[in-house]
């Protein structure tokens, strides 16, 4: 195996935060490197340094044995380094072809003039290379999410043609937003590239790491703590290396503690449908119950939750909360009724950017801690928010830090804290709550949700993986094409196998 890239003692500090320390890493041709670590351990920072997006504070990088300084992403591209971001980095109002060549020179746009047909042809060739059928003339924002993800991939893989030597491709949590089919496609590309390129693959799903990588590197607090071939690892050992403690196995909750059969259900939905997706759906959730919703993309699970939260247009059907019919015309109305929603897209729908943790957490229910629920009491809000920050183990410098400065997993915990802060929350809808969370943080999160449920909070939960659903839920409902296709009550020992669930989903 030829060595392509080496980092020597690379470090990065942001103000007083050390994101990365003394990182020595070697990337070789023909190898997939799996990178794991807790939230905020510096994985993204490392990738961004290699990808030219961030300048290291110390250390050096060697490309083919020669030191390099990468000044920008396009600089890295010119050196054959491509990076797939978790958040898509396409320009929505440009065409597919332009996006593919955004960071690369091409004869079709030499001298600053566009020869559109040649550009489209070149893009079509790139798309063909990875067997994708997308019109290079299409505007990116007109594409479906999955198609956009494919364009993103095509854009990165086009660096292959740019350099004569093997390219380096970096993937930062690419799978957390993909469907099984898309993941399969991605892995096929990785398999194809494996021979000719060096690949770094970041994921919080240890199974994926074990499946696709040749070597796993574990990071903690900006340092490398392990670097081993995956053959020497299994899920448990990887988890231990990462989290530094034993994995908690789901303790099946005693059936009798569940008030599942109480007379009035917490939530009772009949004939709920949206203009877009959900066929009339009918279900009930008991107080303190955790209901898992499963379904492939466009199964309607997400629309169902958003409809319950008043965030969908054209919603029909009746919703009863604690037996009383409510009209959820807007998120505000839902909140009023005691329904909370943790969005899948926290950057846009969850966080108030540029605001502190306290401000974020106190936004919705802070007033409950005020005088007579009318007048704001900042001190009380701050105290409660701080309590939750501790309880959720948010890794932060201070409760007054800006939420933007937290790593993704910690941001998610803050957004969750906004809802848990409430004293009158009846129902919490969790839309892919573990997205981007490291396994340890996920366990923390599950523990908190379980304890809140034990106090009577009802939860509807759309999971990232089937494993999660089985881990957390009392009951699982599988959705397909906007309708419910199967139901399993886990507490009754009615545990389905993963195969059963997959069959019900597709």
């Amino acid at each position: 195996m030829t060595q392509l890239l080496e980092t020597r003692g690379v470090g990065k500090t942001f103000g007083r935060v050390t994101a990365l320390e003394q990182m020595d890493l070697v990337l070789s041709q023909g190898e997939v490197l799996g990178l794991v670590g807790q939230n905020g351990s510096g994985k993204s920072t490392l990738l961004k340094i290699i990808g030219g997006l961030v300048q290291p504070s110390s250390g050096e990088m060697l490309l083919h044995g020669k030191p390099v300084r990468l000044r920008s992403q396009s600089d890295a591209t010119m050196h054959g380094i491509g990076m797939v971001h978790q958040e898509q980095s396409l320009v929505p109002n440009l065409t597919v072809a332009e996006n593919i060549f955004l960071d690369k020179p091409n004869a079709a746009k030499a001298h600053g003039l566009y020869r559109w047909n040649r550009l489209f042809d070149a893009a079509a060739a790139q798309l063909r290379k990875i067997e994708i059928d997308i019109d290079p003339r299409a505007t990116v924002e007109d594409l479906r999410f999955a198609q956009r993800q494919q364009v993103e991939l095509a854009k990165v893989l086009a660096v292959e043609d740019l350099v004569s030597h093997p390219p380096i491709i970096l993937f930062d949590e690419p799978t957390s937003v993909l469907t099984p089919d898309e993941i399969r496609l991605l892995f096929r590309q990785i398999e194809r590239l494996r021979q000719t390129a060096a690949i770094v693959f970041v994921s919080h799903r240890l199974d994926e790491i074990l499946h696709i990588s040749d070597r796993a590197v574990v990071m903690t607090d900006g340092c490398k703590v392990a670097d081993e071939p995956v053959t020497a690892l299994d899920r448990e050992s990887l988890y231990r290396l990462m989290v530094g403690r034993q994995r908690t196995i789901r303790a099946p909750r005693a059936v009798e503690t569940r008030p599942a059969e109480s007379l009035t259900p917490r939530l009772d939905v009949t004939g709920l449908s949206t203009g877009r997706q959900v066929r009339p759906a009918t279900l009930a959730v008991a107080p303190g119950e955790i209901l898992g919703l499963l379904g492939v993309q466009s199964s309607g699970a997400e629309e169902f939750c958003r409809a319950l939260f008043g965030a969908e247009d054209d919603v029909h059907g009746t919703i009863r909360l604690n037996g009383k019919q409510i009209s959820v015309t807007s998120p505000a109305a839902a909140v009023q009724a005691g329904i909370g929603y943790l969005p899948a897209n926290r950057h846009v729908e969850g966080m108030l950017k540029g605001r502190t943790l306290v401000e974020n957490m106190a936004l919705t229910f802070g007033l409950d801690y005020g005088h007579r629920g009318m007048i704001v009491n900042r001190r009380a809000e701050r105290r409660v928010a701080s309590e939750w920050i501790t309880r959720l183990r948010v890794k932060t410098r201070s409760a007054d830090a800006r939420i933007d400065d937290l790593s993704g997993g910690n941001q998610q915990k803050v957004v969750l804290g906004k809802w848990l802060l409430s004293r009158r929350l009846q129902l919490l809808l969790l839309d892919h709550p573990t997205r981007g969370l490291d396994p340890g943080a996920r366990d923390d999160l599950f523990a908190v949700i379980r304890s809140e449920a034990a106090k009577g909070l009802s939860v509807i939960f759309i999971a990232d993986t089937i494993g999660e659903v089985l881990d957390l839920s009392d009951r699982v409902i599988v959705m397909r094409d906007g309708a419910m296709s199967a139901e399993y009550n886990l507490n009754r020992g009615d545990a389905p196998s993963e195969e059963d669930l997959v069959r019900a989903m597709v």
Binding site: A311, A332, E349, L352, K353, G354, E359
Partner: protein, 330 residues
């Protein structure tokens, strides 16, 4: 969870960090600029700080300040209200038109009408999802046409017995009452902004509208409130203006629109929303009012007044804009 880790590395510091202290410093820049300006003018023209001069300044600055405070509120949410000067102008016209009907209550009625109008236009903008810039540009055009139509394009004397106008035009403790009106307005709005959910929601809307919406903020209602507040302030500014002129005119507030935008920005409120506040509006209004007369104070030739005003405004904005909180500057 039984094996919970010691939370040593995750403890929360209570002490404000370097970043917070720097932010606090940044926030005080507009005030520093104001003090600097006042200090300079006191050196250049010592008489400017005499009580009589200050009173004159207050009575000239009050309408502008009220307008700036009002405009700040929609801007905090990331919208903009271009109709404020139009509302201020039509206020005077309505006062004359409605006086025969409502007698001593005319001012109240006019302010309520303005608030209603503002709420309606905020609703129009938020519910129909038309950009505020174009909504209020459209209503500005309609308002100016309407006030010309209603007044037949002439200046008319106010009914001289209107109690509120007389009150505003009067002085207490030798200080113009319009100054007190501005203060009272700030006090009321400050309480609303600081101690009710409205203030918090306004800032949330400016910081990230989708996130605010998904956190239960009633955006349409809130926008209506924001525009109602700015229209109400504009009407009050109009009343303050006519209490000085004693005449109404369809073009009374003329170019105060541009000055009010300058004022909002000079106070440190970000045009993109989410950053700033009422206090910023007060300071911005005062700086702008001062800039407006600065050219005369320092004796700039009349032909140079525009340029000097433009350059001074740019320098002041350069000093007072807090760029750290705004990612992309449009």
């Amino acid at each position: 969870m039984s094996q919970s880790q010691p939370a040593d590395d995750r403890t929360i510091q209570a002490k404000p960090g370097f970043a917070e202290r720097r932010a606090a410093l940044r926030r005080s820049v507009p005030l520093a600029v104001l003090i600097l300006l006042v200090g300079l003018s006191a050196i250049i023209a010592p008489g400017t700080l005499s009580p009589a001069a200050l009173n004159g300044f207050i009575s000239d600055a009050a309408p502008l300040m009220i307008l700036v405070i009002g405009s700040t509120i929609p801007i905090l949410t990331g919208s903009i209200d271009l109709s404020v000067a139009g509302i201020a102008s039509i206020t005077g016209v309505m006062l004359v038109v409605l006086a025969p009907i409502f007698g001593p209550w005319t001012c109240i009625v006019v302010i309520l009408l303005a608030i209603l109008f503002g709420a309606f236009q905020g609703w129009l903008h938020a519910w129909l999802q038309i950009p505020s810039f174009i909504t209020t540009l459209g209503t500005l055009s309609m308002l100016s046409g309407l006030s010309l139509l209603l007044s037949n394009a002439t200046a008319q004397p106010l009914p001289d017995s209107d109690p509120i106008i007389n009150l505003l035009g009067d002085t207490s403790f030798d200080i113009p009452n319009t100054g007190f009106a501005a203060l009272a307005l700030v006090a009321v709005l400050a309480v609303v902004m600081r101690y009710t959910r409205i203030g918090r929601d306004l800032f949330a809307l400016g910081a990230g509208e989708r996130a605010a919406l998904m956190s239960g903020v009633r955006t349409v209602r809130l926008r209506s409130f924001a525009f109602a507040a700015s229209a109400g302030c504009a009407a009050l500014a109009g009343l303050a203006l006519v209490s000085v002129t004693q005449f109404s005119s369809p073009t009374l507030a003329g170019n105060l629109l541009l000055l009010s935008i300058v004022g909002v920005v000079l106070g440190g409120t970000a045009i993109s929303g989410g950053v700033g506040g009422l206090w910023a509006g007060v300071i911005g209004g005062l700086i702008t009012a001062w800039l407006r007369v600065a050219t005369v104070l320092i004796g700039v030739k009349p032909t140079g007044q525009y340029i000097v005003f433009g350059i001074m405004a740019l320098i002041a904005v350069f000093l007072t804009t807090d760029r750290t909180k705004i990612g992309i500057i449009k």
